[in-house]
Symmetry: C2
Subunit: 343 residues, 2 copies
């Protein structure tokens, strides 16, 4: 946090005034050219453009933001990029925001950062952003030194839908059902589940839908194993599953845990898919190269990102927001890790 006192020797760039002087026009005319206004004479415009090039003029976004009262920038609050889904989503958000003319401010959540005394404001309030997309579990925000300034437009990804913010997310329930039914359709008696952390809404919705699907099909509901999204936790859980000969089909709540699960099964000498079928969730790029290649549920991150950015920009524009949550569908990708149960 260290507010640094060292003064900065900042060579300011050329301003509109400089361009105006050189082109022999008023600053306002330069402004008009810079903003692509139509009411400027062709010859004048060319002269101004030339002057701009000559002095290397760049609009000062701070002045612009001050004048306009908005930054043309959106903040993305992310906890850990290490999670595959968040990374993909962030990437897609950046692309979507850029194509809409917005910059992206990445706001990491650092816990345990005792905030600097004097300033009574939180980090987010100081950020130069017009709105925020929250990419982490909402409840984590409480632990952190970030709190939502009043009146700041917000869109939430991966959270429960009863928040007072618009929510955009993958349709977890649909994906989960797809995965579970795929295994049941292959003839498995039931499907085990390796869930994500309990404080994740995405994880709990996947879990709920898996349970519901089993119930709908009249299948017994085995006990749930819980991981933390990491491959390591998938391995730990996998060792237990591998030891149980009853287990013939497992739905892991993400691909990374599925990877650890695969390792545990190999180690225990249980063949995939002959002895045990495995389905993941996400369809990360590597999933196709797992051994065996992983059957999984594909998420459409760019779509989620596009919708989120659009909803946020809408909120910024109007100051209002729709409360219908947006759910983006998923797709089952069948690969070699699933097969009918051995006789």
């Amino acid at each position: 946090m260290t507010a640094d006192e060292t003064p900065v020797r900042r060579r300011r760039g050329a301003s509109m005034a400089d361009v105006a002087r050189l082109a022999g026009v008023s600053g306002q005319t330069v402004s008009r050219v810079a903003n692509g206004r139509r009411n400027v004479d062709e010859a004048t415009r060319d002269r101004v453009l030339a002057a701009m090039r000559e002095v290397g003029y760049r609009p000062n976004s701070a002045a612009r933001a001050l004048r306009n009262g908005q930054f043309r920038s959106i903040g993305v609050i992310a906890f850990e990029l290490s999670s595959f889904g968040n990374t993909r989503t962030l990437d897609a958000i950046a692309a979507a925001a850029t194509s809409s003319g917005y910059a992206v401010n990445l706001i990491p959540v650092l816990h345990g950062t005792p905030h600097d005394l004097s300033g009574a404001f939180d980090r987010l309030g100081e950020q130069a952003v017009d709105g925020v997309i929250i990419l982490i579990e909402a409840h984590r925000l409480d632990e952190a030194d970030v709190q939502m300034p009043e009146g700041m437009p917000v869109v939430v990804i991966d959270s429960n839908a009863d928040l007072d913010y618009p929510v955009v997310d993958t349709d977890q329930a649909q994906g989960s059902r797809l995965a579970t039914e795929h295994l049941l359709d292959l003839g498995h008696r039931t499907v085990w589940h390796l869930g994500g952390p309990e404080d994740s809404y995405a994880a709990s919705r996947r879990l709920r839908s898996w349970r519901q699907t089993l119930t709908d099909h009249g299948c017994p509901v085995p006990p749930v194993l819980t991981g933390d999204w990491s491959a390591g936790s998938g391995y730990a859980a996998g060792r237990k599953l591998a030891a149980d000969p009853e287990v013939t089909a497992v739905f892991a709540a993400n691909d990374q845990m599925a990877l650890g699960l695969l390792r545990a099964l190999h180690e225990a000498g249980r063949a995939v898919p002959e002895d045990v079928s495995v389905v993941g969730f996400d369809d990360m790029e590597e999933a196709a190269q797992f051994w065996p290649p992983l059957t999984t549920i594909r998420q459409f991150f760019p779509e989620v990102a596009r919708r989120s950015v659009d909803a946020l920009i809408e909120g910024i524009r109007t100051g209002e927001h729709h409360h219908q949550p947006v759910a983006v569908g998923t797709e089952l990708v069948v690969r070699a890790s699933t097969a009918p149960p051995r006789r």
Copy 2:
């Protein structure tokens, strides 16, 4: 790109003037309190702080930036976050920058984006950043619609060292040597290499060092296979390697390609590590859960990020930069994918 014309109804927040009025002091005193200056009476400070809280005052970063001539924000130009290393680095950069009081602006490089007509300035120039960290191959910048404004401090990660910018990076050569020598030490006659894309400096340095190491040890240098960092390309290359019984040890230029390589070897019925030993590079979190767990070269991304951010801030402060490239060391992590060659 669509520069949108829709006007925005932006409810401005409280300004210093509002706080000043409420606290019965001048705006300047509020400014002093907000910036933690010492020369303010205790009682006055408390009164101002209370007023701030009451009106929900937040400093306007645009005005601040305009006044100070700097944004307290750094830009990170990244091409694709999908690459594991870049993601980790970005994450670490965000943490490091935040802890130094800088915000992070994510600037994706979108190719083929014809820039909006009127504005003659490039995207980066309009970004509200004091400096830039380039996370992509420098030559890609030429293809993109981003060009470096003159006088903008820059730090480059993963590039050739003869640029006019400070370069911070993992010590690719050292890591590559570690990997190669580990395999040679185990008794392998030589080591094959599955390289990254040719236009990557990191890849070419890993390749060069691998070759040098073999030469130093008097080992034959097998032909190089080239991938594009993706697991899929690792698989494609792996199929060729798996078909050659001469191959007993492979050094893949990153873990993702190593994953594809492992799959290809399994598919071909060649046991790892009994028939073929494999070493990766990166030590991504999943590497420990590959089958078999992958021996690999660990990179220290937080260290790279910390150094980059520090160097950039230094450049922002002084306007100068050191040209000594910074190389962050790596570490060999031995897991189950490597063993002495079968007799």
